[in-house]
Each structure stands twice: as structure tokens, then as C-alpha cells.
Symmetry: C2
Subunit: 242 residues, 2 copies
């Protein structure tokens, strides 16, 4: 009973997950993209103004393109399901014998035979919705997504901007207090970004149905390595240019 309950919870998470997933992947992408700009600029010894200007420009442009891209791909998935479903309805009307044969093959593979198989086929094809539903699941292996494109896009946009602005926070405050040394700003940015990635990473463990510690470590490692790469590339190129 314990296990059953656990599984039911898993299913509840599986449905809610649709929005958590967008929050998690939008947030991680936003933080890493902006942090890469900060780290690259830091590695190349570019000024605070460059970090703030390009960090913000990148944040807004990428947040926009990612959420609109998300809208289109979620919509395309739904459209594809609907299109295939319409084709199946067309086929059971116009290629009836062939589609009956496909139902026969599907249920024969499940172990049905003889008179029972014929009776099963009769029930399935007596209801067009059941017939098409069987073709979608068994022949095409497609299941309908409950995701609303505008909702996934909105969650992605919000999460990308909110989490993605974290690496820039310390630089914004530098405008108000120029007495803060620049290396300190980058250290603050690293700490704040690390905290943000850890929080989003803990939610990622829910989406990926993993241990919370693994979710956090994976996300921190990913962000850290990406920033290291950006810092290194910035550093090397700056030496080449000067």
C-alpha cells in the first residue's frame, strides 16, 4: 500500500510537472546564459558597463526567443497529435478493411486469437473514438499532451528573466556604490548564482524524479563548468587581442 501511494504521488507530480519543468529549464538556462556573459567579460577584463549592457541585452533577447520558441514547439507537438488523429479518422472511414486488419494485428500481438479476437475487434471498431484512440496509442505510440502553449511559454519567460537576472544583481548595485571593488562584484555574482542554481536544481530533482542532492549537484556543476569555459575563452581571447 505504501508503494502504491508513492506511485500515485508520482502521477500527481507527473501532471503538475508540466509547469515545474518549464520553470526549472527556463531558470537554469537563464542563469547559465547570463552567468556566461558575466564570466566571459570578467575573464577578458571588460568593464562593469559591458557586463551590465550585454548581460541585460542577452537576458531579454534570449528570454524572449526561448519562450516564443517554447510556445511554437509545444504548439507543434499538439498540432502533430491532432493531425495524426484526423488522419486516423479519415483512414477508418476510407480504408476500413486495412484498419480492421491493423486492429487484428495489435490484439493478436497481445495474445488474443480465434473467436475471442474477432469479438474484441467487433467491440473496438463499433466505436470510432475507441478505434482511433487504439490506433494512436498502439500503432503510433502517441499520447496527448495537456500542456497549454501560452502557459508553458509564460512560465519559461518569467523563470528565465527572474533566475537569469541573479548573476547581474551585484553589478546593478555597483552603480549605487562605486566603492565596491570590481573583483568583489564577480565573487558576489558567483555566490548568488550558485544559490539560485541550487534552489532551481532542487526543483529539478522533482521533475527528473531524482534524489534532491543529485539535482542540486548536477545543476551547480553544469553552471560552474559553463562559466569556467566562458571565463577561459574570454581570458585567452583577451590575450590574443591585446
Amino acid at each position: 500500500m505504501q508503494e502504491k501511494k508513492l506511485h500515485s504521488q508520482g502521477k500527481i507530480l507527473f501532471f503538475n510537472k508540466e509547469y515545474i519543468a518549464e520553470f526549472v529549464y527556463g531558470g537554469i538556462d537563464g542563469a547559465i546564459t547570463t552567468f556566461a556573459v558575466v564570466a566571459g567579460a570578467e575573464g577578458a577584463n571588460l568593464g562593469i558597463s559591458v557586463v551590465v549592457i550585454l548581460g541585460l541585452a542577452n537576458l531579454i533577447a534570449d528570454g524572449f526567443s526561448m519562450s516564443v520558441g517554447n510556445f511554437f514547439s509545444t504548439k507543434a507537438e499538439r498540432d502533430s497529435f491532432e493531425k495524426h488523429r484526423q488522419v486516423e479518422y479519415w483512414e477508418i472511414e476510407n480504408l476500413r478493411d486495412k484498419e480492421i486488419e491493423e486492429i487484428r494485428e495489435i490484439y493478436a500481438a497481445k495474445g488474443f486469437k480465434g473467436e475471442l479476437l474477432e469479438q474484441v475487434i467487433e467491440v473496438i471498431i463499433s466505436d470510432k473514438d475507441v478505434w482511433v484512440d487504439t490506433m494512436m496509442k498502439e500503432e503510433l505510440e502517441m499520447t496527448k499532451s495537456d500542456k497549454a502553449p501560452y502557459k508553458t511559454a509564460a512560465v519559461t519567460f518569467f523563470s528565465f528573466l527572474a533566475v537569469g537576472s541573479v548573476p547581474l544583481l551585484s553589478y546593478f548595485f555597483a552603480g549605487a556604490d562605486m566603492s565596491i571593488e570590481k573583483p568583489e562584484l564577480f565573487v558576489y555574482s558567483c555566490i548568488l548564482t550558485g544559490v539560485a542554481l541550487a534552489i532551481v536544481g532542487s526543483f529539478k530533482s522533482i521533475v527528473a524524479e531524482k534524489n534532491i542532492f543529485i539535482g542540486i549537484m548536477e545543476t551547480l556543476l553544469l553552471g560552474g563548468l559553463a562559466a569556467l569555459l566562458a571565463y577561459f575563452v574570454g581570458d585567452v581571447l583577451e590575450q590574443l587581442f591585446r
Copy 2:
């Protein structure tokens, strides 16, 4: 017959699509991210060296984080399917009556009743694989993904870097020939990025099963608007900073 053939082709595309999809979304994301850096730097009148340094740093760091992120999310999807499948195997062993009842509900909903319903249940539960397969498709509405995580990650990485380097090409050549005026470089970058986005957009129409013209226009519009946003943000912030 014509329509049936078309549908079969659709199915073939649906399977190949798994790799085309990574190519398309990796490529679009790479081009737009890098183009946003170029446009933002251009709007803020930053030098060629800043464009090349931060463009490359962002390209490599984002390409890395996006493909590794893709690896984890593809893997999480497969793991989730496998985990739920194992739970179903556990349940049919340990909560047999409850699971039989679920099969009864599933097939009653399809229109089966009386003696025939009992016979159908008997065949389904006589084979554990068929039983679990039915629970996965009908109860959880989960179908197995054929995607290999390391393959989708590799295609994403390659596509992100290849298409994502296009907006920077004209700036690389500026190093060799400094007689090219800087405004020209941005114009070349816009043209090259437009061509690259149009090509990837035409593939997107395959993934999204849409008209090729719509695929191209959607992609060009998305990239153009993102770049406009970045340019505008760069321009405004530069005026605030100076």
C-alpha cells in the same frame, strides 16, 4: 491509398524527427543567442573585440550547457518511464486484485461488458508484459522514447556551435582585413544569420509538420525580433551609462 502512403511517410519522419528536432532547436538557439550578443554590442557601440570575445565565450559556454542539459533531460525522461514501468510490475505482483480492477475499468470504458469483458481481462493478465504495457499506455499515458541521450546531446552541441558561429563570421574576417568598415560587418552578420535561420527554419517545418514557408518566416521573425530587442536594450543602456 495516396493518403495512407502520406501518413506512412509522416510516421517515418516522426521517427527520424528525433534527431532533426535537436538539430533544429539547437541551431536556432545557437544563432539567436550569438546574434543577440552581436546586436546588443552593436547597439551599445562596443568594439569588434568585445563582439568576438563575448560572442565566442557565450557560444561555447551555452553550447556546452545546452547539450549537457539536453542529455540530462532526455535521460530523465527515459528513467521516468523505466521507473514507472518497474512500479507497475511490482503492483501486478503485490496488488494483483487492484490492478485487475484497473484493467476492468480500462476495458469497460472501451465498451466491453459481461462475459466478453472477463475473457479480455483474462488474456491481458495472462501475460505480464502485455498487462504492464496496457497500464503504461492506458493508465499513465506514457510511451517510451527512442531517443539516446548521448546522441541528442551530440547533435544539439554540433548544431548549436555550427549555426551559432554564423553571426560571428564577418567579425572573424575583420581581423584579417581591417579596411572593412564596422557598420558593414554588422550588415554582413545580419544577412548571414538570416540565411542560416532560413535554412534551419525550413527543417523546422519538417519537425513541426508545417508548411515550409511558415517554418522559415517564423524562425526569421523570432531571430529578427530577438536581435532588435538586444540592439534596443544595448542602445538605451549605452546612453544611460555615458
